[in-house]
């Protein structure tokens, strides 16, 4: 049901009498499959040559606007909404387009959403905001969310309610920048140590960590020997290291000793297993400010695994715990699409 108070601010002008009228809002034109955007911007003075195009757009009447004191135009309202929603690392254009503002990343990093607060915001009359998922890796200028006031004119009190909700839950949207972590990598496995097969893990880990700005400082290949693994981890803990990554040896066979090797090295907090496939036999641990990830061998076969979900969070300075690993369950099953479209897919998007 349209808001009668808002509608009383508009005067309807038949299109054949509209020459000279100043448009009260952007007029959207849709050409199926080709174009959707403003054909005429708010403030445009209608000329005689515009009439045919407006009629082709299905406009037989136009609005002229006379705002009451308690009302705000959608373009002014959306600037207030965007300002209140945008935390650190989130920017937006100064000029709304068709009443909408798109929020964008000011720098690359991990996009964070206060989901409950965003739901509360969307419960308020006449405003909306839609975003991409929480914990998504984003590039600079990537679109994160879009917001708008639903009607052309919004009641001031509804706008104030929405702004208050966003401010009280600041920041609803933010981007955590990635730290240039220094990584040390331990490849485990008798087969690679003895040279029976060539290691392929190093290239995979290097590619994924480099993409987020981390550097692998050292790499070693070790046999499935618990003591050697423990000893090497201990030596890495003494060096200038932010993150240790081990690969392989995380399963249940007698030769799978990497997990024991990690635990023996002395971590305050280790979590083995995650609610993600591929990546169930994953280990995550912390020793003061140094993190360790034990990657299961599935990373050799699957393009996207638990590693791709947790690495960005460590890079952003987070320390995911047992509950975070469990929260990945809903959406934690990879659909193995060919080709893989991650991160543009539901994998790992629930947390």
């Amino acid at each position: 049901m349209p808001d009668k108070t808002a509608l009383s601010s508009f005067k309807t002008i038949p299109i054949d009498q509209a020459v000279g009228t100043t448009l009260a809002h952007d007029m959207t034109e849709i050409i199926p499959g080709k174009y959707k955007g403003p054909a005429f911007k708010k403030g445009h003075k209608v000329k005689s040559e515009d009439i045919c195009r407006l009629m082709r757009m299905g406009k037989n009447n136009l609005y002229s606007l006379d705002l009451k004191e308690n009302q705000i135009h959608e373009d002014d309202a959306v600037l207030e909404l965007a300002s209140a929603l945008s935390g650190p690392g989130v920017t937006f254009s100064a000029i709304p387009n068709e009443g909408k503002l798109e929020l964008k990343a000011a720098y690359p990093g991990l996009f964070k959403v206060n989901i409950d607060a965003l739901i509360d915001f969307n419960m308020i009359q006449d405003v909306m905001c839609a975003s991409i998922h929480n914990n998504t890796c984003v590039e600079k200028n990537q679109s994160l969310a879009a917001t708008r006031a639903i009607p052309l004119v919004i009641e001031k009190k509804e706008l104030e309610k929405a702004v208050k909700t966003a401010r009280e839950n600041y920041p609803i949207f933010s981007v955590k920048m990635f730290n240039p972590l220094k990584i040390r990598l331990i490849i485990t496995g008798n087969e690679v140590y003895k040279g029976l097969i060539q290691d392929r893990f190093q290239a995979i880990v290097e590619k994924k960590t480099k993409a987020l700005g981390a550097t692998i400082k050292e790499t070693i290949i070790l046999p499935d020997n618990q003591e050697m693994i423990t000893c090497r981890i201990k030596s890495y803990l003494k060096k200038d290291t932010d993150l240790i990554i081990t690969t392989g040896g995380m399963s249940v066979d007698p030769d799978d000793v990497t997990r024991a090797g990690i635990e023996q090295a002395g971590f305050d907090d280790t979590h083995y297993s995650s609610a993600v496939l591929p990546g169930a036999m994953f280990l995550l641990g912390y020793n003061k400010n140094i993190s360790i990830m034990g990657l299961p061998a599935c990373g050799l076969y699957h393009k996207t695994t638990i590693f791709d979900l947790i690495l960005p969070r460590l890079m952003a300075g987070e320390k995911p715990g047992k509950r975070d690993l469990a929260k990945l369950c809903h959406g934690g099953l990879c659909m193995n699409c060919k080709p893989c479209r991650f991160p543009a897919c539901p994998f790992g998007k629930s947390a």
């Binding site: 911007k41 600037l79 965007a82 300002s83 945008s86 935390g87 650190p88 690392g89 989130v90 920017t91 937006f92 254009s93 100064a94 000029i95 000011a106 720098y107 990093g109 933010s174 981007v175 955590k176 920048m177 730290n179 952003a316 300075g317 987070e318």
Partner: protein
């Protein structure tokens, strides 16, 4: 807008000397303003409709600022440190924008336009005054999405650096390791504090 010679004279005075960069800057600014439909950019209401992005901090930039009236402190002059003799003129009311680049060829063409002048700088100065705009500049219509945090007007955004407690305006803060930080605290500063010497060290 005043005529070219008057603007050039004023620009040279404001900059401190007359040089080829002043000529290029004045002509670039006059063209830029014309293309985006501003004929009196230094006066109200047009002064509020203009933002100029300059891509170099050399002589021409001062000329552009003089002709257009844009100022860093008004947030109407933006410096993009590209090292390119170029500027983009944006009418924020109509969103019409043009990027104008000074051509490298114009340096060589100076001797064609002013063959009688021997001194290289004077030759460029005289040549740039009469050079065809097509020889002097490359012009491209562009779209600039001016961010709300770069817009002129009152400060809309403020944050407090969690480390040094400084107020950071206009969304220049970053979120690093769960802390809102100013850029100096997040990335390091361009300056180093000087250790004051004690009496005995002097």
């Amino acid at each position: 807008m005043e005529d070219f010679e008057t603007l050039l004279k004023g620009s040279a005075k404001a900059h401190g000397h007359l040089c080829p960069g002043q000529v290029v800057g004045v002509r670039m600014a006059m063209l830029g303003c014309h293309l985006i439909g501003l004929d009196e950019p230094r006066t109200l209401p047009q002064i509020k409709n203009l933002i100029v992005y300059v891509e170099i901090d050399r002589c021409a930039t001062d000329a552009i600022a003089f002709v257009t009236g844009v100022k860093l402190g008004r947030r109407s002059l933006k410096f993009v440190d590209n090292g390119i003799m170029a500027a983009t003129f944006v009418n924020i009311k109509t969103q019409k924008a043009f990027r104008i680049v000074s051509t490298e060829e114009s340096r060589d063409l100076a001797k064609v336009y002013a063959p009688d002048v021997i001194d290289k700088e004077k030759q460029q100065l005289e040549a740039y005054k009469k050079m065809n705009l097509d020889d002097l500049f490359i012009v491209e219509e562009v779209f600039v999405d001016v961010s709300a945090c770069d817009f002129p007007g009152p400060t809309r955004f403020k944050a407090v650096c969690a480390r040094c407690n400084t107020i950071v305006r206009d969304k220049r803060e970053v979120l690093k390791n769960n802390e809102i930080l100013c850029r100096s605290c997040a990335f390091g500063s361009y300056y180093q504090p000087v250790q004051k010497k004690g009496k005995n060290d002097a």
